[in-house]
């Protein structure tokens, strides 16, 4: 393997800009140029990390070319296409900056917003989310589903961020060490950060229409987002006290079991002539009772199985010093 981790002589930068790319060949050079230009006025060192998420076009050779032109530009090439969340995680894992900024590789985010985001972060936040103004996307296919999804996310997670889908965000390193994204969770970064104890805010950012290439999203994604959202809500509610969660879920089943048991008693004492009654109501009561019992047992299994994981250091919420 030509994979050598050479010792890196340059000191750690203050700011890392991470951009995942999937089949964005034409966008690489303008993106890099734009980022470098936007950050040229910045004090402090920065680095740009371009993550090629298994592109099928020549995105990687463009990334290599960009890294040759400027030593502050780094490239990561992933073994196969793993999706935006995992590609962003790859960038985060290799970012060395105290502050990390993520943005889309398709030129729709404006790198000129980066300094403002970082300044906002320094006011005392762990996460600053971009909020796209005058979104340049198709109304019915992109904006409406996004509006619905954002409302649902706000309601269910209780995190007051307007635009969860905007990739342009600034993170403090300490926060990134606390959150681990997998599957398609990049949309829930504000919610996950909030549950890790982060201070979160949002600020308006610019948004441009796509110049080159094609959007990789469709409307079917909204349904998936809602399923994922429901899952996330369940996880964040259940994970700290699984037994309590499963016990609560078992309650309605117990009530149903009780009702059928009562009906069975009434049927047995009042209507002796119908023999089938002696089976159906007690049977239903037993089934509901068994399901409730099963859920409580699942809660116990989770308590035992997850003990080690819940002891791990990344489960400690983040906090800040008060001076």
């Amino acid at each position: 393997m030509p994979l050598t981790h050479a010792p890196e002589p340059d000191p750690a930068p203050d700011l890392s800009v991470v951009a995942p790319l999937y089949n964005e060949s034409q966008n690489v050079a303008p993106l890099v140029e734009w980022i470098l230009e936007a950050l040229s006025g910045c004090a402090g060192r920065f680095e740009v990390i371009l993550v090629d998420d298994g592109s099928r076009d020549d995105t990687w050779s463009k990334v290599v070319a960009a890294s040759v032109l400027d030593p502050r530009v780094h490239g990561l090439r992933l073994g196969r296409n793993v999706g935006q969340t995992a590609a962003m995680m790859a960038g985060f894992d290799h970012a060395r900056g105290r502050v990390v900024v993520s943005l889309d590789g398709d030129l729709q985010n404006d790198p000129r917003d980066i300094p403002a985001l970082v300044a906002k972060l320094d006011e005392g936040y762990d996460l600053v989310c971009g909020w796209r103004q005058q979104r340049q996307d198709k109304f019915l296919l992109r904006k409406v589903p996004s509006w619905v999804a954002n409302r649902m996310i706000r309601r269910l997670t209780g995190v007051p961020i307007t635009d969860n889908g905007c990739s342009l965000k600034a993170y403090r390193r300490e926060l990134l060490d606390r959150i681990s994204l997998y599957a398609e969770q990049h949309r829930f970064i504000p919610a996950l950060s909030a549950s890790a104890g982060a201070r979160i805010t949002e600020m308006p950012v610019r948004h441009h229409a796509r110049r080159y290439g094609e959007s990789k999203y469709g409307i079917s994604r909204t349904v998936k987002v809602l399923v994922d959202l429901f899952t996330l809500k369940m996880i964040t509610t259940f994970r700290s006290r699984p037994l309590l969660g499963f016990g609560t879920a078992a309650l309605p089943l117990l009530v149903a079991a009780g009702l059928f048991a009562g009906a069975a008693v009434i049927a047995a004492t009042q209507f002796r002539e119908i023999k089938a009654t002696a089976v159906v109501f007690p049977g239903a009561a037993l089934l509901f009772g068994a399901a409730a019992f099963y859920l409580v047992m699942l809660g116990l299994v989770s308590e035992v199985a997850l003990r080690n994981e819940r002891e791990s250091a990344s489960e400690i919420p983040t906090a800040w010093e008060i001076r």
Binding site: P2, G79, R80, T231, I274, T277, A305
Partner: protein, 329 residues
């Protein structure tokens, strides 16, 4: 491995550990598990093919519990330092044998061979040639196939089914002849009976896999027909692999779907019964009520299971990475 998104421990390449990689030295790993040809001949002919190519090599035979080296092979191993024989005390299967072979061999390039002539020894050169800097795994595809249509039919059916799960079509995934870099082999999640899926698994883990045509050996042409138990096991393996590949990161997508089908069925049946009751019919003597309750309970249980899986995945997330870095600049 684990599902959409192969999941694995952070990469540690041999290069990163400061070792130099010797491309010329090949460790041949032979798990002796089901069918066995004359292993002395196998050793000599494949050894000759490697020597002719200028490859230094070692052979590691791993005998599963039911098999033992012949006296001739044992005697040969006394005088040949590059021939090593290992034996399990009981039956552990091919995957375990491969893992032991990987652990006990020392080369950076591994060649796995079945314990019988599946391909012509001369074909090994083409496999090793294909292992360039950009490649981690080379799998042999027996071609041209010279065996009966029945063998080919079975093989084609199996490959077709697997290709439905993987993003790329493999022509001969079950072929036991493969070349792997040690760095890749050590990171493959090999357990259970998953050795048949090595190429597909490597692909999921983000390794670069190529398929190379190698001529089939005449000895491999005999028609094979297995008992129904074997076919059932293969199908179960396939189902296990399919589940691992698709849902390890999102268990609730699977359990939730199945559970909600049951739950919806139970809910609709209950509604029908409720309407009947309001209309004045007695429902206490209808077994349908039991069915409705059973479906509801089953639905809730399945979703509960999925949720437990989901919590496990969530809490393990800090220790796993769904990506593998292929190159850095």
């Amino acid at each position: 491995m684990v599902a959409q998104g192969a999941v694995m421990e952070p990469t540690t390449d041999s290069a990163a550990r400061g070792r130099t990689i010797d491309e010329r030295f090949v460790s041949v790993i032979v798990p002796v598990v089901e069918r066995v040809d004359d292993l002395v001949t196998l050793y000599h002919s494949f050894g000759a093919a490697l020597a002719e190519r200028g490859n230094e090599h070692e052979f590691v035979f791993v005998f599963d519990g039911a098999y033992a080296p012949s006296a001739e092979l044992a005697a040969l191993s006394q005088e040949r330092p590059n021939l090593r024989l290992l034996r399990f005390a009981r039956t552990f299967g091919e995957t375990a044998a491969l893992r032991l072979g990987i652990e006990r061999s020392r080369g950076d390039v591994l060649l796995t061979l079945p314990a019988y002539f599946q391909v012509r020894p001369e074909g090994v050169g083409a496999l090793l040639d294909a292992l360039d800097e950009q490649t981690d795994v080379v799998v042999a595809s027996r071609s041209p196939r010279i065996d009966s249509w029945l063998n080919r039919l079975q093989s084609a059916a199996f490959n077709r089914m697997i290709s439905g799960v993987t993003e790329r079509r493999f022509h001969d995934i079950a072929c036991g002849v493969r070349v792997l870099r040690r760095s890749a082999a050590e990171q493959l999640p090999l357990y259970g009976d998953l050795h048949r899926f090595i190429p597909a698994m490597a692909l999921r883990e983000g390794f670069q896999v190529v398929e190379v045509a190698v001529p089939q050996h005449p000895g491999n042409a005999r028609t094979r027909l297995y008992g129904p138990g074997i076919y059932a096991r293969r199908l179960l393996d396939l189902a296990a692999f399919f589940f691992l590949a698709k849902f390890t990161e999102k268990p609730l997508r699977f359990f939730g779907l199945v559970g909600s089908v049951f739950f919806a069925g139970g809910a609709i049946t209950s509604l029908v019964l409720l309407v009947n009751r309001i209309e004045g019919q007695a429902i206490a003597n209808r077994p349908l009520l039991l069915l409705a309750v059973l479906c509801l309970a089953l639905g809730v249980q399945l979703m509960g299971l999925g949720l437990v899986g989901e919590i496990i995945v969530h809490l393990r997330a800090p220790h796993r990475r769904a990506y593998r870095v292929r190159e850095r600049v």
